[in-house]
């Protein structure tokens, strides 16, 4: 079966016709010159932009344990609609993904769902308790081939444990992805610590609780000669520290969420837990800083931290609300609005931050590849000018806790293709 994607612009550049069969690109020629045979599939690219399929380093699929909020099937459907061809499912499930058995289960369910590649993230410590290392090697050797390990949800705060973890994963080219949050400085914290938290009477989550852990882990990683990845950077101080560390040669990579690229703590004034997230929404200056960081590459990737929650966990007073926001379907338009339209990032940059670098960090051989002959046909076609409104009713996600409710978004995913097979066609799941 041969498919032709006609009249698309890779990285926004000159229009081409792309042809693939058996999941591999067989030709890339000037637009209008591809020869389609009668029983070939043809997709009209309409002059739109084509990029390598997006790779999310940070997603919560909630299965096993909280299938009321999301399942691997529903989450990967949302991912495909968001243009993602691979997602990394975080380990804070129930049971926790701290053994080869659980990660293989998640991996297999992802294949069954078939919407995008699911790469389970293994927990760093048993049960996320922060006491003993989990069997990282077993998870790495399992069918799921885990390379990214994280206790996300909680911080690996014990410096000795973090050191050991950083050292241990060198054996299989793994990486520890740290959720930077000093637990003692953030006990009972509800929102960013600032003038606003004092006015609203909500306990503060100070920036230093994130920055201090990052600074420590930069130095640890350098000391033991390991690479390290920092999840959901959210403050100017964190960006500055990572930038400093990179200048010193530390092998660090960092991610930022779409919501931290665009939303600020001001939303807490509503006391609506829809806007409650960990790390919290920060100040406008922090938002500016993470945009600068993503633009100059200090921040390597956009990672959604898609965190579905059942309705009753958000339909309540702030203190009782769970932390987390949806993000898979709205990541691309947020990047368009905050980075592309203002000219901070071009389409090559988007490909780099949303596909190439995440794939490299996760050591994925078949994602984030150039759009060229011989490469996997794992692509996303996007329309940067399309506008649409967020409507949770029309989302395949089981949860509705999006911070962009009823908001008009700029930029839409039109086609998502996973190894030659379209998973989304004209904005609709196939």
């Amino acid at each position: 079966m041969t498919t032709h994607l006609l009249n698309v612009r890779p990285y926004g550049e000159d229009p081409v016709d792309i042809t693939w069969s058996d999941g591999v690109i067989t030709s890339v020629v000037a637009a209008g010159t591809a020869e389609a045979r009668p029983d070939d599939d043809v997709i009209d690219g309409r002059g739109l932009i084509v990029l390598p399929g997006f790779v999310d380093l940070h997603t919560h699929l909630r299965e096993p344990g909280r299938e009321d909020a999301e399942t691997i099937a529903s989450g990967t459907a949302a991912a495909a609609l968001g243009g993602f061809t691979a997602v990394h499912a975080m380990a804070n499930t129930n049971p926790v993904a701290d053994t080869a058995g659980v990660v293989e289960q998640v991996w297999r369910r992802g294949i069954e769902a078939g919407r995008c590649d699911v790469h389970p993230v293994g927990a760093v410590t048993v049960g996320l308790q922060g006491e003993r290392l989990a069997e990282l090697g077993a998870m790495a050797d399992s069918a799921a081939r885990v390379r990214v390990f994280s206790d996300d949800g909680v911080c690996v705060s014990d410096p000795v444990l973090m050191r050991r973890a950083l050292e241990y994963v060198k054996a299989f080219d793994g990486v520890i992805a740290q959720h930077a949050q000093d637990p003692r400085l953030t006990e009972g914290a509800q929102m960013n610590e600032s003038e606003l938290s004092g006015v609203l009477g909500l306990r503060g989550w100070p920036a230093v609780a994130e920055e201090a852990i990052i600074a420590r882990d930069m130095l640890l990683a350098q000391h033991v000669g390991s690479r390290v990845h920092i999840c959901h950077l959210s403050t100017r101080g964190s960006v500055d520290i990572v930038r400093w560390a990179k200048e010193r040669g530390v092998d660090v990579t960092a991610e930022v969420t779409p919501h931290h690229l665009i939303l600020t703590e001001e939303l807490a004034r509503t006391y609506d837990p829809r806007y409650k997230v960990n790390p919290p929404l920060r100040t406008a200056d922090d938002v500016e800083a993470v945009r600068e960081g993503l633009a100059d590459g200090t921040i390597d990737v956009v990672a959604t931290d898609h965190a579905p929650h059942a309705r009753e966990d958000k339909d309540c007073e702030w203190a009782a609300g769970a932390f987390g926001m949806l993000g898979l379907e709205t990541a691309f338009p947020v990047v368009v609005e905050t980075m592309v339209i203002p000219g901070r990032l071009d389409w090559r940059g988007v490909a780099d931050r949303m596909s190439e670098r995440p794939a490299r960090i996760a050591r994925l051989a078949d994602q984030g590849r150039p759009i060229a002959v011989g490469e996997p046909a794992t692509l996303v076609v996007v329309d940067p000018d399309a506008t649409w409104t967020v409507d949770p009713q029309r989302s395949p996600s089981r949860s509705a806790n999006t911070p962009f409710l009823a908001r008009e978004m700029h930029g839409a995913v039109v086609h998502t293709v996973l190894r030659g097979r379209p998973t989304v066609s004209e904005g609709v799941l196939t």
Partner: protein, 329 residues
């Protein structure tokens, strides 16, 4: 007046003075044998108290009853609330019972805000204290008390100096008072150890001081906030002794106030911790009066809020007009 009373910032200067004036008139009425007024007859007022608070709850109950409203009280202990029923479900139950006004005290900051804006209930929401956020009717009764002693019982509090001392970080009373006192023209100084002041307090419309002896001289009033001894365990201060020595109000300090200066406390007091028994029971103390004033102020708040709310009257009834503007014929 806006539809709900969630924060002291909801009141403009004129509105605040109007509430205090109304309370003053109601206070005079309560000197009569018949204390009840028929004003809110047929209205249902619900007290929704998720936190234990006998004093405030009784104050609101009395206020509503004196206006002839039907009062229903939900208190946390022993109800479905304490068994984990959510705020939303409790609210929906109240709505089904037809509450015209819901007076809510809750341990979570912003809970009244959620009740007012979530669409779960239709009635008027009065914040009776939410977490560490606000307690607007406390600020109103404090302003009423101050006005009575410092401004002859009328107008505002322009130029008066009020010192507020204690655990500002965790105090909803402090937040509401800073806002309302500023609205009424008073100058406020907050005194506390640095650990008990919130980040960003420098931007609040008041002065800050760590030194109680320096802040008190000449002040017209000092308001002592309750300080929980358990805060010591979270290292907010080293010991109760050190706290009392540096920030407690004793007779020597009370006498630093202006001649007519008064001592206030929202209650309940930790005698010996933030305030000595001699001062609490002494001549400058108006603490008991604050409680009495609470009923009249809360009557005024209920009257003004429910009067502004949409009612069930028949629009075909003729306007009671005669002389324009005012009470009709």
């Amino acid at each position: 007046m806006s539809t709900h009373l969630l924060s002291a910032a909801d009141l403009s200067r004129d509105e605040a003075i109007a509430v205090l004036d109304t309370a003053a008139e109601l206070a005079r009425i309560s000197g009569r044998t018949v204390k009840k007024l028929p004003t809110l007859r047929g209205r249902t007022v619900v007290n929704l108290f998720f936190e234990d608070s006998t004093r405030t709850r009784i104050s609101f109950e009395a206020a509503a009853k004196r206006l002839s409203a039907d009062v229903i009280t939900f208190s946390a202990k022993g109800s479905s609330v304490s068994k984990g029923e959510s705020l939303k479900d409790t609210a929906l139950t109240l709505e089904a019972m037809g509450a015209d006004a819901v007076i809510v005290r809750h341990g979570a900051s912003g809970a009244p805000h959620r009740l007012a804006h979530s669409g779960w209930i239709d009635g008027v929401v009065v914040n009776a204290g939410d977490g560490t956020h606000e307690h607007p009717t406390q600020a109103l009764l404090d302003a009423f008390t101050l006005r009575h002693h410092l401004s002859g019982g009328e107008g505002a509090l322009d130029g008066r100096r009020v010192v507020i001392v204690g655990d500002v970080l965790h105090s909803r009373v402090a937040r509401s008072n800073v806002l309302l006192l500023r609205t009424l023209g008073a100058d406020v100084t907050l005194v506390a150890p640095p650990t008990l002041l919130p980040v960003g307090v420098e931007s609040w419309p008041c002065e800050i001081s760590y030194d109680l002896d320096a802040a008190l001289p000449g002040a017209d009033a000092v308001m002592m906030l309750r300080v929980q001894a358990e805060r010591m365990n979270a290292a907010y201060f080293p010991s109760t002794n050190e706290y009392s020595r540096r920030y407690g109000l004793d007779v020597r300090r009370a006498n630093l106030l202006a001649d007519e200066g008064i001592v206030m406390h929202p209650g309940p007091m930790n005698r010996g911790m933030e305030i000595t028994a001699e001062v609490a029971d002494g001549p400058r103390s108006v603490i008991v009066e604050q409680v009495t004033n609470g009923v009249h102020v809360r009557m005024a708040v209920l009257y003004r809020l429910l009067g502004a709310a949409e009612g069930s009257g028949d629009p075909a009834e003729p306007a009671l007009s005669g002389s324009l503007e005012e009470a009709a014929s």
